[in-house]
């Protein structure tokens, strides 16, 4: 493949890809996302390939990233028509292919409502999908993540072309600011302001970084995006680099996900081959390269200053950010870091404009949000809804409610650094600021459902047990405060609660939150704080009423 030298060459090449594709030719997309892969979708995909080979060129088989409906994997989607088959086994393959060629549907493999028995054949009829707005993850079933041509076929890199050929860097920045894109990694900080800080920093050498270090418990949406559609994130990054004036980017991700690594490596190589990375991108005069970097297996690697230390080759220890990393980051150069999902939002903002983007979402939180739905929920999976969607829609309409006919007790957001709110707040909208005020900040977007049997003391203990092992141990309040809280909570769950424990917990939570060096320590007591706010009686019940010991 010779390098594409201009926007015109890209569009010609894209037209060529589309011309070779017959939209009427059936395509069977087999999900190879983490959950489906775990249910051996690879064998299903191999069976499809073998069966299709017998028929010559009548049908296309595509192995794709996560479709979203993890609960019912292995997932298969047949186009045209977006016919969804669930829990597909190798034995079902011949029947699906035969039906597809005849334009028929295999009724026994389509969605069936567990209560009414009503069937749903097409994706837009399946309850799990029909309440979603899948702007980011919707392309996943249409793309083989190893094939850049699949991304080009759905309009990929058109936003980059638009930015490079019709907009100045300032205009790109302006569009992102107007779109009020807020960081999806947890803080909800306006991405445009962050970009502007790095752009305006005096140093000439600047870096942009994709934080793909998803480590929050119960969060698996960034992995679904980055593994399933790596070029979308890369396109966002290149556009951001152009706006900011960065010459180099880093994709920082986990070392322990071989498929993700393979897809990202391949995407970077293909993008360089096609000329989306390197010197004089599409003849625009803009140079940009991107390097892949891995963590060393500790959660705090995802903290921005620790991540930058790690890229420099040091142990991932957070630095105090009295001077922001957007001004002084990697090797003391201005470094703009955004999360996977934040970058994934950039191409559509450039393509469709800030006005379109701000028409989606709530007043202060725009666009859609990817949510990982898990816990005691009927339908676990990766979900995408407009900001402002009531939690009820997420939990009941999409999630199908609580598993095993139990009642909902609490909704937990944000993993080990998030918070739990009681079931009666179910009508709260999904909104950065609103959820923070309730004490359950969205975080990166891991939503955990808890049923009536959940022990809220045990949940706080469990989450702290995770974080204690993930702290770096540099600063005292985090290193010492967390294990002390864990010790008290462990005692409480074992019936060894003591008078004074609640006061000790409150003091430890307050000081760890106020005095820790980085966000990991500062937010580590948040689940506990939310539980003492909403579920305090459960904690009080673990303390014996009278005992002299304090």
């Amino acid at each position: 493949m010779p390098k594409l030298q201009s926007a015109a060459e890209l569009e010609k090449y894209r037209a060529g890809i589309l011309a070779k594709r017959d939209p009427a030719k059936p395509c069977i997309a087999v999900c190879a996302g983490a959950a489906c892969d775990g249910m051996d979708s690879a064998t299903v995909a191999a069976a499809f390939v073998a069966e299709a080979a017998k028929l010559g060129d009548k049908i296309e088989i595509r192995t794709t990233g996560c479709h979203g409906y993890c609960e019912k994997g292995p997932n298969v989607v047949v186009t045209p028509g977006d016919i969804c088959y669930f829990e597909v086994q190798p034995a079902d393959v011949a029947e699906i292919i035969a039906a597809t060629l005849k334009g028929e549907v295999v009724e026994r493999l389509v969605y069936k409502d567990p209560n009414t028995g009503a069937k749903a054949v097409h994706m837009n009829e399946v309850p799990f999908y029909k309440h979603q707005t899948r702007l980011l993850i919707g392309d996943n079933p249409n793309i083989d993540p190893m094939k850049i041509d699949d991304y080009l076929a759905v309009g990929g890199y058109a936003a980059l072309v638009k930015a490079l050929t019709t907009m100045t860097p300032d205009q790109v920045l302006d569009e992102v600011k107007k779109a009020n894109l807020r960081g999806r990694g947890g803080g909800g900080f306006p991405a445009g302001s962050k970009w502007e800080t790095t752009k305006n920093a005096p140093e000439k050498t600047k870096y942009v970084i994709v934080n793909g270090h998803e480590g929050e418990s119960a969060a698996f949406m960034d992995r679904a995006m980055l593994t399933g559609n790596p070029h979308k994130i890369l396109e966002g990054l290149i556009i951001g680099a152009y706006a900011i004036g960065a010459q180099k980017g880093f994709m920082y991700t986990r070392h322990d996900m071989p498929r993700l690594e393979k897809h990202v490596r391949n995407a970077l190589a293909q993008a360089a081959e096609y000329g989306f990375l390197g010197k004089n991108i599409l003849g625009s005069g803009f140079d940009f390269e991107c390097e892949l970097h891995f963590d060393v297996g500790i959660f705090v690697s995802g903290e921005s200053s620790a991540l930058m230390r790690s890229i420099e080759g040091h142990a991932p220890e957070p630095r105090p950010k009295y001077i922001r990393t957007s001004v002084s980051g990697i090797w003391d150069k201005p470094s703009n870091l955004n999360n996977v999902e934040t970058w994934a939002n950039v191409p559509q903002i450039i393509s469709k404009g800030a006005e379109w983007y701000t028409s989606i979402g709530s007043e202060r939180s725009k666009g859609t949000k990817l949510i990982s739905l898990s816990g005691n929920v009927v339908n676990s999976g990766v979900v995408e809804v407009p900001m402002g969607t009531p939690l009820r829609t997420l939990v009941f309409d999409i999630g199908g409610g609580v598993r095993d006919g139990k009642t909902l007790k609490a909704i937990h957001f944000g993993g080990a650094m998030g918070g739990s709110i009681p079931a009666d707040l179910i009508d709260a909208p999904l909104d950065f600021d609103g959820m923070s005020k309730l004490g359950a900040p969205i975080g990166a977007g891991g939503l955990l459902l808890m049923n009536e049997d959940t022990d809220m003391v045990e949940i706080a203990r469990y989450l702290l047990d995770f974080l204690v092992k993930e702290s770096c141990g540099k600063c005292a309040p985090c290193r010492e405060g967390m294990p002390q809280m864990l010790h008290i909570l462990t005692n409480m769950t074992q019936g060894k609660g003591k008078p004074g424990d609640l006061e000790r917990l409150q003091d430890l939570a307050e000081v760890t939150g106020a005095a820790s060096l980085c966000a990991l320590g500062k937010t580590s007591p948040d689940p506990l704080k939310s539980m003492l706010r909403y579920f305090k009686p459960e904690y009080e019940a673990r303390i014996p009423a009278s005992s002299g010991d304090k």
């Binding site: 702290s471 141990g473 600063c475 010492e480 294990p483 002390q484």
Partner: protein, 223 residues
């Protein structure tokens, strides 16, 4: 360099830009407690005891003064109810490791810390990192380092390096607020290169004037 005017505990102070709040306070004779700080070492921000309240344009925040650079017109309060509480709880946490360390005992008196408030921990180390950083930044030897993460973090002498350099130096032992550094060294010696003391004694005999934290007696005759 330009001068920055700020207020620390109602005292008007002028210091060059780039000065930290801790340095500014020290220059003005205002005491802020520290544990992991040492003037020869890069500021670390690990113990968090030097935390202070900073008011800037109406916003109050809590920052560690050893790292926070002075800024124009900020108002620093080195003590407040919240600052004192933070220091009290941190001292209580550290006392779970080293309840009798003199610096902690003194701080406990000031901030009303209860040495028995939290579960005792088995190590006497408060992980201030003075030994590790001194060995790295001043001595450039790296004979002692951190190992493990989070609550498990501890100092550890690296036998291959320590064997050759520690008896000759010993400077970190005197820095240690809990006397744990030398214990850790001796444990490493016992485990990895036992009897090294004899070699050290012979070497010391050749340099009789060098003072040491652990005096090296000559090996008794007939041994």
């Amino acid at each position: 360099m330009s001068e920055i005017a700020l207020k620390i505990d109602d005292k008007d102070i002028k210091v060059p830009a780039g000065t930290t709040v801790l340095e500014a306070a020290q220059q003005a004779g205002i005491y802020i407690p520290t544990l992991c700080h040492h003037e020869k070492l890069e500021a670390f921000g690990g113990c968090r005891l030097c935390i202070v309240e900073v008011e800037s344009r109406g916003w109050t925040s809590y920052v560690v003064s050893c790292l926070y650079p002075v800024a124009k017109d900020i108002i620093v309060r080195t003590r407040s109810e919240k600052v004192d509480k933070i220091r009290k709880v941190i001292v209580e946490e550290l006392m779970s490791h080293a309840p009798d360390a003199p610096e902690l005992v003194k701080l406990a008196e000031v901030y009303g810390a209860d040495r028995n408030r939290f579960e005792r921990k088995e190590s006497f180390c408060v992980v201030c990192g003075l030994c590790v950083r001194y060995c790295d930044e001043v001595k450039h030897l790296n004979a002692v380092g951190f190992i493990e993460n989070g609550a498990e973090r501890q100092i550890s002498f690296i036998p291959e390096v320590a064997k050759n350099v520690c008896w000759e130096c010993q400077e970190c032992f005197a820095l240690c607020p809990t006397s744990y550094a030398q214990a850790a060294y001796l444990l490493a010696e016992a485990l990895a290169f036992p009897g090294h003391r004899k070699v050290a004694a012979a070497r010391a005999a050749q340099k009789p004037n060098k003072s040491r934290v652990i005096p090296i007696a000559a090996v008794p005759a007939g041994n």
